[in-house]
């Protein structure tokens, strides 16, 4: 009886963790939130970062900005994927300027949230800064 109760508990936990309601608050690869001088909230990434957006969003606008030039003076490039599906590569040719890119998020999600992965082709020491990511705007 005790064993069955334990198995039921583990099964219930696994079901809950398959699609956690709190995933929207989880991110990785970001530093803490900051504000640039006009008051725009943003977070620095490292070479990669991930966050979640609600699955019912059909598109998102992702504000990106770099303070450094890319490798060999070329523009910094940011590759964006949704649940491992390639979405776009955003080039940031100008430094100190916010670039807002609208990205369609179509397709079935199967969960409450989609995982968005950001990969940057340039990280600057000593604080290992990639790009600045602002607050994501969602279209439903």
């Amino acid at each position: 009886m005790k064993r069955i109760a334990w198995l039921a508990l583990v099964a219930a936990a696994l079901v809950a963790l398959r699609d956690p309601v709190w995933a929207g608050r989880v991110s990785s690869g970001f530093r803490s939130w900051e504000e640039d001088p006009p008051g725009t909230p943003f977070r620095w990434t490292a070479g990669r970062a991930s966050f979640f957006v609600p699955a019912d969003a059909t598109a998102m606008t992702l504000p990106l900005r770099t303070e450094f030039s890319g490798p060999n003076g070329a523009p910094t490039e940011v590759e964006i994927r949704s649940d491992d599906r390639y979405l776009a590569t955003v080039r940031l040719p100008d430094r100190h300027v916010w670039t807002r890119t609208r990205l369609p998020l179509g397709g079935r999600a199967g969960r409450r949230y989609r995982r968005i992965d950001v990969r940057v082709n340039r990280v600057v020491p000593p604080f290992m800064l990639g790009v600045m990511v602002g607050e994501v705007e969602l279209t439903r």
């Binding site: 956690p20 991930s50 649940d83 082709n121 340039r122 020491p125 290992m128």
Partner: protein, 422 residues
């Protein structure tokens, strides 16, 4: 009452530790668990099991454009250009089961399998917490063989909350100290069992634990001296069992040696040399390590003075620990005090000594045992222990809240901040 307290002590500390751990991260008192030294200890796992790369190159490329942040104790070895992680692989090996659960949950929940997302962080943090609890259970098993329940309970409470042990089980759980505490506790207990029955399994276990101690923190090899001190009469008659233990220990060290050989061309190296740290044996800062406001062992954990008293009060079995504890402590003190970074960076109290607390537990218990039959001494020692525990808890909370500096605390700062929580 005391028997019940002893029986449920580890579970109660586990409950408190999980609550403290959750509060620390929910309130943002600390960055995610894999940070600072913890990052360097943990790095082997994602490198090997997610990036399938033992050279540590892939993580550097993926996260940091081919380099590592300055806080990480990882540098390129000059002659080969390969990455050398200054800390050994022992903590990562002990974290492995937790990492595998974290990795499975990451896949199951569609979180990023990058080695550093939510479940990996909690797996690493909870690994340290769990090993600290296992270490406490082992210390309890050791003490229960020789002391009354009341004495065992007083010792466990003082050891857990009167020192920085609880801090390294929760706030800085990915550092090596909770892991080493557990291994040294297992080492001391196993030596006692091996003295009674030197079976092949006990000998193999002894060797494996000895290997684990060195693999977790190289300098902790000093704890291996406990064996000859506790069993000097048995060493020669049991040379075959010891050879078996030595083979098991060597087998544990082999992966680390092979890694050093691949990276540097030598089988064993001073892995901290590239970080600019060095020993200065001519001018050890012994007074600073023991009593300074910066990281003085007895300044920040005055409860440990009860263990010093225990060295003089110990009778019968615990008496046999005095020489082993004294010599290992003296050696450890000399090594730490001679190290250029003698404060060991940011820490609550002096963390170099947390690893060996299992060894001082019988001395703590000796003081409580001695006082138990002397009403005046009992009141005095109980009052001192209670005050020391309360002070340690208060200062630990101050440290967590960022009120106490992480390092280089001056007397003037200490006085100004004494028991202030805002």
């Amino acid at each position: 009452m005391a028997a019940r307290g002893v029986r449920h002590f580890v579970a109660a500390v586990g409950f408190l530790a999980v609550a403290a751990y959750a509060t620390i991260y929910a309130r943002g008192w600390a960055d995610a668990p894999i940070r600072s030294d913890g990052y360097s200890y943990y790095l082997y796992l994602p490198s090997a099991l997610i990036y399938h790369d033992l050279t540590l190159d892939a993580v550097a490329r993926d996260w940091y454009d081919g380099s590592y942040p300055p806080f990480a104790a990882i540098r390129r070895w000059p002659s080969t250009g390969r990455w050398l992680d200054a800390v050994p692989i022992g903590v990562a090996a002990m974290m492995l089961p937790f990492f595998l659960v974290g990795d499975a949950l990451t896949w199951w929940s569609n979180f990023p399998r990058d080695g550093f997302s939510f479940y990996y962080q909690q797996a690493a943090g909870l690994a340290g917490l769990t090993y600290a609890l296992v270490g406490l259970a082992l210390v309890r098993a050791l003490l229960r063989r020789y002391f009354r329940d009341g004495v065992v309970l007083a010792t466990l409470v003082t050891l857990t909350f009167g020192t920085n042990l609880f801090h390294y089980a929760t706030f800085d759980a990915t550092f090596s100290h909770a892991f080493s505490f557990c291994l040294v506790a297992a080492w001391v207990l196993l030596i006692e069992r091996w003295r009674e029955r030197p079976t092949a399994a006990a000998s193999l276990g002894l060797g494996a634990i000895a290997g684990g101690i060195v693999l977790t923190r190289n300098v902790n090899a000093v704890f291996l001296l406990v064996l000859p001190f506790r069993c000097w009469r048995e060493l020669w008659p049991r040379r075959r069992a010891l050879a078996l233990a030595a083979i098991a220990g060597a087998a544990c060290l082999l992966p680390q040696a092979a890694m050093y050989r691949f990276i540097t061309g030598s089988w064993w190296v001073n892995s901290y040399a590239l970080l600019g740290n060095y020993f200065n044996f001519a001018t050890p800062r012994i007074g600073s390590v023991l009593f300074s406001t910066q990281k003085g062992l007895f300044f920040w954990s005055p409860a440990l003075l009860l263990a010093v008293a225990g060295a003089f009060l110990a009778r019968r079995w615990p008496r046999s620990f005095v020489a082993a504890t004294g010599v290992t402590f003296a050696l450890q003190l000399f090594i730490v005090a001679s190290w250029s970074e003698w404060q060991l960076g940011g820490s609550f109290g002096h963390r170099a000594f947390t690893d060996g607390f299992a060894l001082v537990a019988p001395l703590f218990a000796s003081t409580f045992d001695w006082a138990a039959s002397r009403p005046r001494a009992r009141a005095l020692i109980a009052a001192f222990a209670a005050l020391a525990v309360l002070l340690s808890i208060a200062q630990m909370l101050q440290y967590w809240l960022g009120i106490l500096p992480y390092a280089n605390t001056t007397w003037s700062q200490y006085r100004t901040l004494f028991l202030r929580f805002r």
